[in-house]
C-alpha cells in the first residue's frame, strides 16, 4: 500500500472512532435520562389515580430534555449514515419512547402515534438520513408498554381502582390486534410479540376477577357499540 493511501485509510478509521466516541457520550446522556424516567414511572404501580397527574408531570420535563440528545446525534452523524450507527442507541431510544407512550396513555388513554413520539423526542423529518425513529423501535416500545400495563392492571386493583384493568384490557387488545396484522420475521420483535399473550392473559384474569365480584362494570359488546354511536 502506498504511504499516502495508508495515511488516508488511517485518517478515515480515526474519524469513525471519533464519531463512535461522540455518539457513546450522547447515549450515556440519554441512558441517564431514561433511567430517571423509568424510576419515576415505576411509582405508577403505587400511586392512586388522583395523584397520577402530578407524577406524570414530573416525568415530562425529563422526557422533553431528550431532545437535546437527539439534536446532538443528528449533528454528529454523517449524511446517510443513520443505519450505520443506530444500534448504539436503539435500546435507549426505545425506553424513551416507552416513557412517552406510557405517559400519554395514562393522561389521555390514547395511543401516541409514531409521528407524535418522534416529535416529542425532537426528531424531525428532515434528519431522516441521520436521525429517525424507525417503526421497529416504536413497536418495541409498544410491547414494553403492554408489559407495564399488565402489571398496572393488577396493582391498580390493589389500590382500589377497579376500572383501570378494564380500560387497559380494551386498549391492549387493540394493540394486539394491530400487531397481528404484521408479518414479523423470526427476530427479537417477534419473540417479544409472542410473549404478549401472557400479558393479555394476566390482564384478562384481573378483569374476570373484578367483573365476577361486580366491582366494576365490564362493557358488553352492545354497550361498546352504543358508546361508538
Amino acid at each position: 500500500m502506498e504511504s499516502s493511501e495508508l495515511e488516508r485509510i488511517n485518517y478515515l478509521l480515526d474519524r469513525d472512532v471519533d464519531i463512535r466516541e461522540k455518539i457513546k457520550e450522547q447515549v450515556n446522556e440519554l441512558d441517564k435520562k431514561t433511567r430517571v424516567m423509568v424510576g419515576l414511572l415505576n411509582k405508577i404501580h403505587s400511586t392512586p389515580a388522583d395523584a397520577m397527574p402530578i407524577l406524570i408531570d414530573s416525568v415530562r420535563p425529563i422526557l422533553l430534555s431528550c431532545r437535546d440528545v437527539t439534536t446532538t446525534l443528528a449533528r454528529i452523524i454523517p449524511e446517510n449514515q443513520f443505519w450505520r450507527w443506530k444500534d448504539m442507541w436503539s435500546n435507549s431510544i426505545r425506553t424513551a419512547v416507552f416513557a412517552a407512550i406510557l405517559i400519554e396513555y395514562l393522561s389521555s388513554r390514547t395511543l401516541l402515534s409514531i409521528a407524535q413520539s418522534a416529535e416529542i423526542l425532537g426528531i424531525t423529518a428532515d434528519w431522516s438520513d441521520r436521525m429517525a425513529l424507525p417503526a421497529e423501535d416504536y413497536l418495541h416500545a409498544l410491547i414494553s408498554l403492554v408489559n407495564e400495563l399488565s402489571r398496572l392492571a393488577v396493582n391498580a386493583v390493589t389500590l382500589g381502582n377497579f376500572e383501570e384493568p378494564i380500560k387497559i384490557s380494551l386498549f391492549v387488545k387493540e394493540l394486539f390486534a394491530g400487531f397481528s396484522v404484521l408479518n414479523l420475521k423470526n427476530d427479537a420483535l417477534r419473540r417479544r410479540f409472542d410473549s404478549l399473550k401472557y400479558d393479555i392473559k394476566k390482564i384478562e384474569e384481573v378483569v374476570y376477577d373484578v367483573s365476577l365480584r361486580k366491582l366494576a362494570e365490564v362493557p358488553s359488546p352492545k354497550s361498546v357499540e352504543s358508546s361508538i354511536g
Partner: protein
Amino acid sequence: MATTTTSPSSSLTVLQSFDVFGADLDDHNERRERLIKASRDITNLSKKVIFLLHRLARGRADSKVDERTSYKQAAQQGYEKLREIQDLYAKLQPELESERFWRYQRQVSPGLQEYIEALSFAHYLDHGSLITFDEVQKTLMTPEGVEYFPLTLSDYLLGLSDLTGELMRFAISGIANKGGRKRATEVCAFVRRCKSDFEGMTPYIRELRKKQSVTTQSLEKIEDDDGALTEPSASGFFSTPAAYAIVVRSSEYDLPPEILEDIVAQSVSNYNSYSHETRGRRRDGLTGSDDEDEAM
C-alpha cells in the same frame, strides 16, 4: 376529540398505523431477501473469476509468451468477467439509495468482499500492486461518476485480506514452473507488506484480526516450510517447497538456475506421489488401530 377510552377514531388509527408498519416491514424484508440473494450470486460469480484467474495464470506460465504479458492477459479476462458483477451492482443501485445502503450493509457485505478479492487479484496480476480504495470504488459507479453505493473501508480491507490467501495459492501452485521460485519470493514479500499494513488497522475493524491470523498462516506456508520436501505434513500439496526451502536447497547445488528449476520440478512431482502414498499408509494405520479396538 374527547379522550374517552378507545374512541372510535383512535381505534381506527391504531389499526391504520399498523397497516402502514406492516407494509413497511414487508417492504423491508423483501428488499433484504433480494439483497441477500444478490450477494450470494455475486459471491459465486467472484469465486468463478478467482478460479479463472488461477487457471489462466497457471496455464500461461508454460506458454511461449513472457510471464508479464501472460498475467496481464489473464487479468484482462478477469476484468471482463467482473463486469457481470458490476452490472449486478448497477441494478442494485436503487435498492441501496441514500440512507438505505447502511441499512442493508450487512447483507451486501459478503458478496462485496468476495468481489473485491477477485478484483484485487486481477489487479495484482495486472500491475503487481494492491488496488487502491478509490480504484475499487471507481469500478462501482456509473460512467458519469455516480456511485452505486459508498464503498466502506471495512469491506475494502477485508476483501484485500482475503486476497493474501489467493496469492499464497498462486505462488505455491506455480512454484515448479519456470520462474516460479522468483515469483514465490515476490509474492511472499508482497503478502508480508500487506500484513504489516493491515496490522495497525485491526483494532478498528472487528473481523480483520481473524483474517490477519489466516494471512499469517498463508505466509508461513510460503515462507518457512523447509521440512516440506522431506517430511510432508498433513496439509498436503500447498505446504510443499517454500521460499526458505528453495534458498537452502539451491545453496547445495552450484548449478545454473534453469537446471535448478528442473530439479525443483522433479522434486515437487516426486513429493506429490510420495505424500499420497504416506497419507494412504497413515490411513491404513488408523484403520488398523480401529480393528484392534474392536477386537478388545
